[in-house]
Amino acid sequence: MEKREQNLLYKIEVGSENVVVPDSLKPENMKKKLEQCAWEERRRKRRRQWKFAGAAAAGIVLVAGITVYQNRTRMVKSDSAVINSADSSDGVVAKSVEKCPVNKGNQENQKYYAKSYKEIRKYIEASEKEETAKGSTKEQLLCADATGDYSNTNVRQEGVDEADVAKTDGRYLYVLEDDGDYVSIVDTKTNMKKISEIKAPKDETIEEFYLIEKNKKVVMICSNSSDDDYEDVEDVTRSSLISKQTEETQVVTYDVQDKKHPKKVGKVSQSGEYESSRISDGYLYIFSNYWVPENWKKKHPETYIPYVDDSLMKAKDICLPDGMKGCMYEIVSSINLKQPDKIADSKAIFSEGGDAYVSNKNIYYYEEEWTGNGKQEKTLLRKLSYKKGKLAVVAQKTFRGYLNDSFSIDEYDGYLRMVVARGKTNAVYVLDQKLKLTGKITNLAKDERVYSARFLGDTGYFVTYKETDPLFSVDLSNPKNPKILGRLKIPGFSNYLHFYGEDKLLGIGMDVDKKGDVTDGVKLSMFDISDKKNVKEEHKYTLKDVYSTDVEWDYKAALIDVEKNIIGFPAGGENRQMYYLFSYTEEKGFQCNMKEKIYGSDALSTRGIYIKDRLYVIHGNVLKAYSLKTYKKVDDCLL
């Protein structure tokens, strides 16, 4: 650079020497802000973000992240006064249960529900006083291994299906296109060929869908909220969120007996933005968030009470929280898949925003309560039973600590087991059917935080991390006395755990050097869990220069099948996303069989699906087929 130019640069520097940095950006204040965010991150409200999964366009990814954060920061502020100062020094706080004893039998407990719209208004008013401004929160939760000779969506709870952006019935691929306007049906019998498509209703976007193989139906979950709200990053305020009072989630069902001519057979709707859904025992359960608009009017319940189909929800179907305020409803409706034009039952939980874990019998809705200093988190847990579509709130309870994600909470044999982070330590809780604490282990892994958890029968496994990655195994066979069986310390950490056949546990996460500062890349670990007291890392594999995989936060991105011996997932570093396919043997460890570039827009997340001996890598409108024998590309298709 010329001297002259250097002089100029120097002048500019001198000319801006007197800049005074605003207080909010001072390191100590920024640290506080980050602590709040670190807390919020645990909520993993990343539903939006998955759409920006492709790390290639760094700018876009970052901006998406920011939007989420703006929402979060506001949410944190608004939540800070939620907590009443209930004494929580002893883990689970039993107050709500005492107040609302659970009735014997299956009767609903009326105490949980609102008596009138008037009572509901009190909550809204209380909430408004705090000038609450919250972001919308969405997420998909929950894994089952594939049956038959093709793969199914990786779900949280075996037996409980989840919607996704790509599905198969063993011959046809059903794929949600980039723009959310169509679900395309592609025949894979000979060469891949698109044979038809199902269009979203006018002005609606398809969020995700189900394929009901038995009845040959495609159930699409649509919403009228557009993704354009990203455009105004700065304007995510309460008023802009609620200006969309018409926000609604639709469930549209098509008969696909005749693949060439899908036929619409039913439609139902409910207020609110789509959050998540499940299918269990022939019923679809759909969750949406409805925000009470700012300009609600006392005399017009339709301005603050959500709709289900075309009728207002009744007060007796709305469950109230402990804290005397709320501005958002979580609406849960059930739909009999045989009667896709009718909502079977609905309940709304008056809430501040949480997540659902759906076991084979119950829905657990957990909602973190923020105390402001990040040290005394509490979680409000609500249990709704579901049986043949009939929903009933059966218990609610506040416990100290928070859950990392839905894998940290698990129902088995009538007991609910949880791994929770509690201040600077972690704990294991076991609760009975009424959510009463039966046993616990506290003060685990000081200064570390839970990265992943998985339960199998009487045993739970979880990974905490600070510098090394202790994998804990815990014996839960006696609900009154859970016991730590073993702990294995290895470098790095696993973000996702998946049982891989008998006595093996697969961990997907990050390899980190011994000091714990430098990430070496995405790591696969296979743990031998045959001796629960002495779990071993049998083999590991590090993908150098690959720093993230969608699986970390979206388990549906994983294709894992023990019988087929395939472990597939998208991952990327600074470059383009690649699809990786591994096999595993005790002798040789992990073997990388395939590493192929993923093509297509970065707007949607990537899915791997196999049918017989072919792997289909689906990314928005681009489908590629690979042979599972040669791992070479054999076919492709552009939608």
């Binding site: 640069l9 002048k11 020497e17």
Partner: protein
């Protein structure tokens, strides 16, 4: 890299003044600059595990901040276009140019920046506040080093008549 809030805050402390000065030159008002830095830090923190090691922290943060500013400027101009309110666009410019005393940036420097294209501003601000050479800036902005050099020269030439 694995990074907790304390580590992040420590790394941030070393560069925050420069980040803010950079943002101020790009955004031309304090509120937007403050927001840009704040957003960039939050997204940097969220994505920190994608960063290989601490050495790269500064250029990583500057890259994120440069992208954040770019996006914000785009939003701003889109908003103005939408409102067809060129006046406010003018007044926003003038606000910077006439020199708000609290900015701490000399009136000359402020004016000089107004003569540059956004890209020139980014390159020059990265040179001054990040201390980066043309090759490093090229890596950050995905431009080749020669392009960076010539854009920098052109930009500095424009500034020269005001600053010299």
């Amino acid at each position: 890299m694995k990074c907790d809030v304390d580590t992040f805050a420590r790394m941030y402390e070393e560069i925050y003044k420069d980040l803010y000065r950079f943002a101020l030159c790009m955004m031309k008002n304090e509120q937007d600059a403050e927001d840009a830095v704040s957003d960039a830090v939050l997204s940097g923190y969220e994505n920190i595990r994608k960063l290989r090691d601490e050495k790269a922290f500064k250029s990583w943060m500057f890259t994120i901040l440069a992208n954040t500013c770019k996006k914000k400027l785009q939003n701003r101009s889109r908003k103005f276009r939408m409102e067809k309110d060129m006046e406010s666009s003018e007044s926003e410019r003038n606000n910077f140019g006439t020199g708000h005393p609290d900015y701490g940036i000399s009136v000359d420097v402020q004016r000089a920046f107004l003569h540059l294209s956004e890209e020139e501003q980014t390159i020059i601000a990265l040179s001054v506040f990040g201390g980066y050479n043309s090759k490093e800036i090229g890596e950050m902005l995905k431009l080749n080093a020669n392009t960076v050099r010539s854009k920098r020269s052109r930009g500095l030439e424009k500034m020269e008549c005001i600053l010299a």
